[in-house]
Symmetry: C2
Subunit: 442 residues, 2 copies
């Protein structure tokens, strides 16, 4: 066995990812040392409660509640506490004490990323965050390095496993949102308070990180447009399937030119959208994640895998650890986060997409023409109309026949579409606007 000098690793956080990182590090230490050319010595794990049960177990002598002291003796600090504070303060302390930092903290990066990257750059420290997006899936490094010579045009990600599990269950078993969420909670895929997932907040944090990286531009979390899946119904999912689509919560960022102002910029947004069943993203089932990247030269790429899980996420953390450790061995000031492009972030109003609108209308002659003219009056071009099941509902003048119209539009602006829907909603021939869903161009 070769004798190496040791690098001192401090771990902040002993949750499921932290416990897996500690366990893998202790178990595979010699193998990793051979890969790095240095020993990786876990000097301690900072936790809030020394006696909390952990799986896998962490040796008692490694645990401490004093994160600040632990950091002081470390070459590399791994932050897996989550949340904004004290994670932010501890990471800044680590950077300023000369350590490299690895974090999986998407909320912190999306909120305080620029501050952390700047602090790191000033002292020549590195900040690694492969585990912050897509769990085990290598996506940060491919965007940062592999595609560094290319131009990313658009990224479409399924980056939240909980919502994908729910939508997949609704699609494959006809479950309602409520029952699918209950199943997700029972299986541990959803938190007790599922708002961060089903409200799209988690995905919004991740897309802010991806957009910043892909477009060499700071994309603040506040500028990400966000809709969750809370309004998605079983009927919408079923009718999407009949039309050859599946509903996915997509985290999208792309280079975009605002059609009116001609401004070149970046859009970052999260919403449920219809994608064709034949698209590779439609085949992402269960709690899996996938990131689909459209690049100018490379064409279409997809990165697929487990988006969460203690051991899975720990794999990404350990990949970063090997990179950080190799840099310690070889020396050099490292690479600064690239934000030279400084593109403006465009509002959702700059985005044009196709839409699928489902209306409940009164089944009488001329209704289709009336509705079609409302669309054209607002500059929204109709691509296809399907009229389906006719039923009977009670109207003001007694029972009347109704029909369901599913209208697919060509690409339209957010504003034009909203005005159209408002007008349609007030029309006496329309009894209900059942759903309005974007169809992502793929």
């Amino acid at each position: 066995m070769i004798e190496y000098r040791n690098l001192r690793i401090a771990l902040l956080g002993g949750g499921s990812v932290g416990a897996s990182v500690a366990s893998l590090l202790l178990e595979h230490g010699e193998e990793l040392a051979n890969r790095v050319g240095a020993g990786l010595e876990l000097i301690g794990v900072a936790v809030r409660d020394l006696d909390a049960p952990r799986t896998p177990a962490i040796p008692r002598e490694l645990l401490t509640t004093d994160a600040e002291s632990l950091i002081l003796g470390a070459d590399i600090v791994i932050e897996l506490m989550g949340g904004l504070e004290p994670a932010r303060t501890l990471i800044l302390q680590a950077i300023n004490s000369g350590a490299d930092v690895i974090t999986a903290n998407k909320a912190l990066l999306a909120t305080h990323g620029p501050e952390l990257f700047e602090a790191a750059e000033q002292v020549g420290a590195q900040l690694y965050y492969e585990a912050a997006v897509g769990g085990a899936i290598p996506i940060i490094r491919p965007l940062r390095d592999s595609l560094a010579g290319d131009r990313v045009a658009r990224i479409l990600g399924i980056v939240n496993g909980t919502t994908n599990f729910i939508l997949d269950l609704m699609d494959r078993e006809g479950a309602s949102l409520e029952s699918a969420l209950a199943t997700a909670t029972a299986l541990g895929y959803a938190e007790a308070d599922p708002t961060a997932d089903i409200g799209g907040y988690d995905a919004a944090q991740k897309v802010a990180i991806l957009a910043s990286l892909a477009f060499h531009t700071t994309v603040p979390l506040e500028s990400v447009y966000r809709e969750g899946i809370t309004e998605i119904t079983r009927d919408e999912v079923e009718s999407a399937r009949k039309a050859g689509y599946v509903v996915k919560l997509l985290a999208i960022c792309e280079r975009l030119t605002d059609a009116e102002t001609g401004v070149d910029g970046v859009s970052a947004r999260v919403y449920p959208a219809l994608i064709p069943i034949s698209h590779p993203l439609a085949a992402v089932h269960g709690a899996n994640n996938a990131v689909f990247v459209e690049a100018e030269a490379a064409g279409d790429l997809m990165f697929y895998g487990a988006g969460a899980g203690g051991r899975e996420t720990a794999s990404a953390v350990l990949g970063d650890l090997v990179s950080a450790a190799r840099r310690h061995v070889i020396g050099g000031p490292g690479v600064a986060e690239s934000t030279h492009a400084n593109l403006p972030v465009l509002p959702i109003a700059s985005v044009t997409t196709r839409y699928q609108i489902t209306l409940q209308v009164i089944d009488q002659p001329g209704v289709l023409a009336t509705i079609a003219s409302m669309f054209s009056d607002h500059g929204v071009s109709v691509e296809a109309v399907t009229q389906s099941v006719t039923s009977v509902e009670s109207g003001a003048d007694g029972p009347r026949a109704t029909a369901t119209l599913v209208i697919g539009t060509h690409a339209a602006s957010e504003a034009a579409l909203a005005a159209t829907v408002a007008a349609v909603d007030e029309s006496p021939v329309v009894s209900a606007v059942v759903s309005v869903l974007r169809v992502e161009g793929l």
Copy 2:
């Protein structure tokens, strides 16, 4: 505009990838300079014929036939000539003159990789080769860096676009191998001499590279077991589809323990195999590539995209160029190729897989029992038997009824299976062994 110092880039080879690299480098030069923090000056492109037509065009003043002189003035050399010589000699010259080298040359890496990596390590140069496997797909960097803290258990790759295009056409349109190959040739997916692709030689080179990287072990090309798709028939593809499988040419490498000797090692092999229709690899259509990675902690990952094409492959080359250039800016001796594990490479005889065997048998009572006992006599356990279409053929004693038996086995060794097939083939109740295909465990 910021003024940077220039890094001098020499390009060897002006084929479709080389011309695309030159074009992207000239077109995006300023953008790349901002990402790197240094100018990337293309000082010349070494070609065999100055007057050959190229798409995209390369400015005439950059072209030279004197590769050796070009190398001498370069900080970074990009080798896109292909073939073993003079590529090998020129790369060694570049390394010894202090340049970093980027290559897409899979044949060279699979054949002389250890020599090149050792030469680079001795002078502290780096050798990048993201474009050698999977075209535009980032797979080398994820294996080398992102999964560096994990243990890869198995890789299954569709790494040859030509054969995937052919098999996909046979599967989706019922084409014969010959007509699918003709279509591939007409569309430019197959070379005039398709042997390297359909014989599995190209895939064997790529799996040698992937296996060496994933298992930190030198895997020589000669130790890769190889079968091509030349024997695959339309009937096999069709009957696979009916049984819920598709036929793919798989490049497989995995950690393996030889059941008899107990030796831990690595297996690398290429052959057509059946994979379940529901597996993500089954959805890889046309000339696309995908690499499916099973890692201990990360679980299943898949990397998907264009496996060939001038611009697509150029994207991977430019990603390597940015990495190499950043290293020049930051300094440091770089990372040596990791081969510390030195695992033995096991022969195909160490591999056990399931099989699907299709037999034409005489349709008379007791045949199934006879055949089943031949399997069990050789220690091959039958999982399922399907008897299908009965037809009439002319036998020695006049016309006789025949049936098709499709036999699925449990995992069996290569040797046991071969002995079984030999015995079955000699049996008087068997009129033909129609096909023997591996079923990859997924």
